[in-house]
């Protein structure tokens, strides 16, 4: 839900050009903040980017639909805002080269995915101080997914409004009202919440596993938390 498969040529130029410029500015800022990092961090970031791509390719059967996970929330928790944004950018570039989403929406894709990932770690740290890491990861993942999805819907709404000729057409206005009132409430919202729930539970399972086996990979934990049998 939170990664756009929008192809080239359907969004108004104003939307994707602004998205591309913003995405590049954020990329430059994230590049500055990770300048001191060595090849070890780059390799880890790339591995998590590879896992995002691999997991996106596997459909998760929920009800009658298949859902494609993004792992943006957990990756945001594990890498932090700057690293996760860079991983999301690279993932969207490779997806575009593979025909999953257009080249012109690489910026918007990276912003949508990266924004969700960027807010995940602060949320995780705030909640993990009071409860188990798995619960904190689930909550951070859910908020991250909701935030990305809200951004996604906002971009679509702006795009439809800016589409040439659409804003003043009575039929389009009527269709938009119907979409807003009926389809969103009846179909999109329940599916979105179900998808967020699935992604949160995946985050829960992921953090529960890491907390048991390699807690030092979770933020806020140290190598002293590593169980003896895992570090042996």
């Amino acid at each position: 839900m939170s990664h756009l498969h929008i192809p080239d040529g359907v969004l108004p130029p104003l939307v994707w050009i602004v998205g591309a410029v913003l995405a590049l500015l954020v990329l430059l800022a994230s590049g500055r903040s990770t300048r001191g990092q060595g090849p070890r961090e780059i390799a880890y970031r790339s591995a998590l980017g590879g896992i995002m791509l691999a997991v996106m390719a596997i459909p998760v059967p929920i009800t009658a639909f298949d859902y494609c996970m993004t792992l943006a929330g957990p990756v945001g928790v594990l890498l932090g805002a700057a690293g996760a944004y860079q991983a999301c950018f690279v993932v969207t570039v490779i997806l575009a080269l593979m025909g999953q989403g257009g080249f012109s929406v690489i910026g918007l894709n990276a912003l949508v995915l990266g924004a969700g990932a960027a807010i995940a770690r602060p949320i995780y740290l705030a909640i993990a101080a009071r409860t188990r890491p798995a619960t904190a990861m689930a909550a951070a993942t859910a908020v991250s997914q909701l935030f990305s999805s809200a951004l996604w819907l906002a971009i679509l709404a702006v795009s439809v409004k800016l589409a040439p000729g659409a804003a003043h057409e009575h039929e389009v206005a009527h269709a938009l009202a119907w979409v807003r009132g009926g389809v969103v409430a009846a179909v999109v919202l329940p599916l979105l919440l179900l998808a967020v729930g699935v992604e949160a539970m995946l985050g829960f399972g992921l953090a529960r596993f890491l907390d048991r086996v390699r807690p030092d990979l979770l933020p806020g934990r140290t190598s002293a938390d590593v169980p003896e049998e895992a570090s042996a």
Partner: protein, 241 residues
């Protein structure tokens, strides 16, 4: 999906067409020109010229028909939703929303199907921050082993009944399974880091095989580039769609 990834990767390295022998830089420039032309074309003649151009490109690159059809149909599914959302009762207004994504999708296939990824990523990584440029290479390299591992893992979960039962149980199990892949990715990144050091990593992955080596075949790509520019200018004043 891993088969498609692998097939495109193999075709890019093993193909022998004139496009395969051309440099990555000129092909990237031509692809950008075609996509830019499709995005900003304001008339049917320009879009038709671009569509014919990209179809000729992929056919002469000798890419499999299955991949070409996939490149045509995949963006159509999503473009159709947008065309329907902005439907104003005139097919002439909706049709460009369907044709533009097809042109972009097919030219993307031509680009990745004729250019090995180190050559393709080398010019892209030059304009990105160093860490992001390096990540581009390493992520692509990691995808193959991780994708294979995730697919095997999913198959094992399915065979052992982990994909049965309530969604909460299934998602929790899948989360733990993804945890094993994250752990594998972490260990793999450590090994990769050590290999990079052993091989004398200088702080930047070069990827500079011959992405800038201009050859005779580049004349064809430059010809395509010029044709796209000329078509955009000539058909600019043509009737609006």
């Amino acid at each position: 999906m891993i088969n498609t990834f692998a097939q495109v990767d193999y075709l890019a390295s093993a193909g022998g067409s004139v496009w395969h022998r051309a440099s990555a830089l000129t092909k990237l420039a031509a692809a950008v020109a075609v996509i830019g032309g499709a995005l900003f074309a304001n008339g049917w003649p320009a879009l038709a010229a671009l569509l014919v151009t990209v179809i000729v490109l992929v056919l002469t690159a000798r890419l499999p028909l299955r991949l070409i059809l996939a490149a045509i149909t995949a963006p159509l599914l999503f473009a159709f939703v947008f065309a329907a959302a902005a439907w104003d009762g005139q097919a002439a207004h909706a049709a460009p929303r369907l044709v533009r994504p097809v042109i972009a999708g097919v030219v993307a296939l031509w680009l990745v199907g004729t250019t090995p990824y180190p050559d393709l990523f080398a010019p892209i990584s030059r304009v990105l921050p160093r860490a992001v440029g390096d990540s581009l290479f390493l992520t692509y390299r990691a995808v193959f082993s991780l994708l294979g591992r995730v697919e095997r893992l999913w198959k094992a979960l399915f065979l052992r009944g982990a994909l049965q039962g309530p969604v909460r149980r299934r998602a929790g199990m899948m989360g733990e399974a993804v945890g094993t892949v994250v752990l594998y990715g972490f260990e793999r990144s450590h090994r990769l880091y050590q290999v990079m050091h052993l091989r004398g990593h200088s702080g930047r992955i070069c990827g500079c095989r011959h992405w800038l080596d201009l050859r005779r075949e580049d004349a064809w790509v430059i010809g395509v580039l010029l044709w796209v520019v000329v078509a955009a200018i000539v058909f600019h004043g043509a009737p609006r769609s």
